[in-house]
Symmetry: C2
Subunit: 211 residues, 2 copies
Amino acid sequence: MAVVPAPAEIPRRTIYRLSIYQRCLQRLRDNGVDTVSSATLAKAAGVKPTQLRKDLAHFGHFGVRGRGYPVDLLASSIGEALGRTRLQPVILVGVGNLGSALSRYQGFEKEGFEIVAAFDADPHRQLPAGALTRHLLHTDQLATFLVDHEVRMAILAVPPEAAQAIVNTLVASGVQAILNFSPTVLAVPDGVTVNSVDLAAELENLSYFIR
Amino acid sequence: MAVVPAPAEIPRRTIYRLSIYQRCLQRLRDNGVDTVSSATLAKAAGVKPTQLRKDLAHFGHFGVRGRGYPVDLLASSIGEALGRTRLQPVILVGVGNLGSALSRYQGFEKEGFEIVAAFDADPHRQLPAGALTRHLLHTDQLATFLVDHEVRMAILAVPPEAAQAIVNTLVASGVQAILNFSPTVLAVPDGVTVNSVDLAAELENLSYFIR
DNA sequence: AATTGTGAATTGATTCACAGCT
DNA sequence: AGCTGTGAATCAATTCACAATT
């Protein structure tokens, strides 16, 4: 019986926080800081120092006791853990109100994603000025495009009624991760991950906290 | 020693799911359904039936054993638990790329929120066609407006550098809940709730799951 | 002296299993 | 017979406390 090599199962919450640490580290690096303690970084990221250390412990030891973490090394190690070593191509489906804004959102590019094409069911739709991609195609072309370009990620900003059908096409064409802005529950097979951002639910949820 | 009256402390995760149940119930109601079992509603909401029942149990019993939940009653009870009994005024700060899209987002209105005004630091900024509010003011006027109109909620879509300063003004003027789209950690006093939606982090987080 | 890395303790959320209604 | 409501059990995440290291 062989020893299991290490499942490297990092909890989803941790993964999410890693992106946030990453951004803080970038800022530190820009400011010429080269070592940071868990206390300082945790404060910047809005978490407790122990949590930061536990999170990092999931995939290695990068700290120097008595000293702290080398900013550069830590940033690149997190990048690696997240699989963000190279530019990642993404498509955008749905160029309505929200989709148009997303097509121009600089934050994606800054974190290493490239929107390689946008799709819409309406052939009269146009990309807004300042969109980060030039390519606007009809949703009919989704499957062909995805297979040709080996895209693994999609951003979905279509009306809720249309969402599941699009998702089925995406999944059938090899997409493995979907960032979903339609307020619907999507069914996907194992091996495909969906992150849903439900804007109205976020606001509704907040309204509970005003007394 | 008196008995504690009941803290009615509903966990944040539950609150979030309530909004989702709410939407499913609305759809059921539109389809003329008047009773629904926890199994059916849970499926629609993408959770396990026990979880749905536990969630509801936090604030009352609405079900009829052997039968299910009356759709109408349940919807209005959840609405009440969330504090969504009347139209809730909200302001939008930041009318850039993302802010413009949010100013036209129909989903907020549909769930009972009204964007009563938008603010921007740039006096040349214009509201996009189709914006759900007519009022665009300079951020200088934030404090006065908030106090005059007793607004408790704000949507924040400004550049990260500007975010904390705006938040300080919002809090000082009585805002108790903030939906934040700036990729920054915001400091707020107790009694103020922040929900952050970090679009780039959502995408980055997803990229871990493509193998 | 300072700060990491981590087993143990705690807290919190989810799921199970079944008693209790209708 | 069917389905809710819930205490008990399980599972997961967070925090504590401290030994280990530079």
